[in-house]
Amino acid sequence: MTITQEALDEVRVAVAAVRDPEYPDLNIEQLGILEDVIPDASGIRVDLIPTILGCPALATIEQDVLKAARAAGYEVNVQFCVSPVWTPDRISDDARQFLADEYTIAIRPRSGPTQCPVCGETSLQDRSEVGPTACRSVKWCPDCRNPIEVVRSRQGANA
């Protein structure tokens, strides 16, 4: 069976809309979890990149991707890739803004210090390396006195 580019594009559009189980307002494309949709030996393969290894939401995301592809008329395979490594840089600009405004979640900017999403303060204090989810650490803003969660990167630098 030949896989057309049109088919790959249709799958991409369908699965890109799958929502993240822990951030239901954002989809897997905005969060940089969706890497690629490519033909492979058995048909169409959807490559996903986990934000963190051992993420408990992976099985749910996989089911939702299969369902979304099926609704568009395609059976696909889902593969979780270990490379490239997910980093917060993969989060889209609109999703960054949304996470800051709606969830008080900060993301390390591509340059400069991390800012408090509430008041813009840059001298955030460390509270714990991991928070409610393994992909976020917890800091405290001494200015507006809010706990701030910061998306971690696997390079270990989460400041």
Partner: protein, 305 residues
């Protein structure tokens, strides 16, 4: 920093949708009420996290263990954030809150005062109890007047929604499984239905300060009623019965009506006199004592022997 001349002016600010921030000069009774409410929530997340932890080794299969692990981390993480905001209100330190909880001087939600007997009990907790907790948190979030708490709730709600989906998925598996699985699930529903509908608390008093100060946005009885309308049909559709002899559908408005609730046993339970309260509190005390060396290491104090 904002200041208010008197209670009327402050309440006017709240009624207009105002959000109070930590640097504001909030009236003392408001500070106390917000603190007590967040402390109760933090204690409940913490006790819930310890219960969830008990099931990591017992959960069937790697996937379920991973989920139990992640849920434990969620609950403990939520407690961590809530204790930070509670301590910042300047009424008790975090350590004082922990010690009060472990000495039985403060409280946590009724649902963590009962024993979780089986894996299907754990599913009933995830499906029925987490949904009730989520419904009440959503109602608090909707109109919450304390900024830092509202911001935490936004994330808590998103994560609890994921737990609920997980609970529903596991419940459906049992509902459509073997007759033994179905019976086990029914037994657990029989044990957990009443605690779940009691989680919302007795009917709200007309002068409830939590409602007046926009810490809560809906009356307890309204939340309970909405929960009943949603869960009774779901359970019946899965072939389960509801452990309430007096449950009936009102022919006039088509709504499900549950029997009146006897609140006396709940009052006893909430005073840490429930069937499993003593064991749970002593378990939490052990966890606290076993981690003393970590706290000592962090504060650079030599460990007490």
């Amino acid at each position: 920093m904002r200041t208010w001349q008197n209670t009327e002016e402050f309440e006017g600010f709240l009624n207009a949708g105002g959000v109070v921030e930590p640097n504001d000069a909030m009236p003392e009774p408001y500070r106390q009420a917000v603190f007590r409410f967040i402390e109760l929530h933090a204690n409940s997340e913490y006790m819930g996290g310890l219960t969830e932890r008990d099931w990591i080794p017992k959960a069937p299969g790697l996937h379920r263990k991973l989920t139990a692990l992640a849920k434990t981390q969620d609950e403990i993480g939520h407690a961590h954030l809530l204790y930070m905001v509670a301590a910042d209100l300047g009424i008790k330190t975090r350590e004082e809150m922990m010690v009060d909880l472990l000495e039985g001087r403060t409280h946590f939600h009724n649902v963590f005062h009962y024993r979780v007997h089986s894996w299907t009990d754990q599913i009933a907790v995830a499906y029925l109890v987490d949904a009730a907790a989520l419904a009440s948190q959503q109602a608090v979030f909707k109109n919450c007047s304390y900024g830092p708490y509202k911001r935490i709730l936004r994330r808590v709600i998103a994560e609890e929604g994921f737990h609920m989906r997980n609970g529903e998925e596991m419940m459906l598996l049992m509902a459509h499984g073997s007759s033994t699985q179905h019976e086990m699930m029914q037994e657990s529903i029989d044990r957990w239905w009443l605690p779940a509908v009691q989680l919302f608390g007795p009917d709200s008093r007309p002068d409830d300060e939590l409602l007046r100060w926009h810490i809560k946005s809906e009356r307890n009885e309204d939340l309970r009623d909405r929960y009943v309308q949603k869960f009774v049909p779901q359970l019946l559709a899965c072939g389960f019965t509801i452990p309430d002899q007096g449950l009936e559908k009102d022919p006039n408005d088509g709504k499900w009506k549950i029997s009146p609730i006897d609140w006396e046993p709940l009052k006893q339970t909430m005073r840490n006199g429930g069937p499993d309260s003593a064991r749970r509190i002593s378990d939490a005390r052990n966890a606290w004592n076993n981690a003393a060396w970590v706290r000592d290491a962090l504060t650079n104090q030599p460990a007490a022997t």
